[in-house]
Point group: C2
Chain length 128, copies 2
DNA sequence: TACACCTTGCGACATATGTCACATCCATCC
DNA sequence: GGATGGATGTGACATATGTCGCAAGGTGTA
């Protein structure tokens, strides 16, 4: 549903790169970078599931997490919000300007460009 | 100091366009768009002063508010944060991509481009 | 079997933000 | 002078987010 916070986005980025992952795995990855304790990582994960940002699965008998929505869908939502609310740019925009992004490749940017062309800020595409 | 939230940014935008303004004036302007009660507007204003986002003055014997930092300085900070934390683009970026912005004109974009070239995310330029 | 370690379930507390209401106080207009 | 309306001072409560700790249960190994 809602947009992820900075911390939540860090978790999502890790999961988009590799999913599913256990809480411990995420704690050792992005959690470590953020200086979190295992508890903090777990709490954030649980809240993200509650918000519908993540889905739970099982991996080797242990609870694991996976992203609920695709990277392009979520990133497009965040870009739209920023460009609209902060920059106040609503018309078509050149996603090519974001080519330097370390999280989005050409294909994904193209997909985002399509998403930004129609989806509105509130109901960001439920595409998974 | 810190970055403004969406609501706080709305207030700032109004003040960059015209300052100083009384609480009532801001309530009738951006406050109305946000559907706030006068109390909400006032609380937000007080918190913004506490955070150093606004400065208080007197206007016709009534308390009034003005932006503590210039539009380019604040916008550059927001852009830097978004581009860095969300998009993960840290190198030099084409501010020309944001030409369609309703809040920034060419001169301001040029100033921002310069700011983004050096200022770091944390200590965003104290330029007023 | 008993210890050790990991996963899980829960609870907690602080700060930031959103959103108001209420009680006062002051100047102004009949 | 008293009523009216706006400006101020303060207090409150809810939700979101950041950040943990603790106790209980499971499982494998010495």
């Amino acid at each position: 549903m809602s947009h992820p916070s900075d911390s939540e986005l860090a978790i999502l980025k890790s999961l988009w790169a590799s999913a599913p992952q256990s809480a411990r795995s995420l704690h050792d990855g992005p959690g470590a970078s953020l200086g979190w304790s295992l508890s903090s990582t777990r709490t954030t994960l649980a809240r993200m599931v509650a918000k519908g940002l993540l889905v739970e699965t099982k991996l080797d008998g242990v609870r694991a997490y996976g992203p609920a929505r695709s990277k392009p869908a979520v990133m497009a939502g965040l870009m739209r919000r920023f460009l609209s609310r902060v920059m106040e740019i609503d018309g078509p925009l050149p996603t090519s300007a974001f080519t330097g992004s370390a999280v989005l490749d050409a294909d994904e940017l193209a997909e985002i460009e399509a998403l930004l062309a129609e989806a509105d800020d509130t109901a960001d595409g439920e595409k998974t």
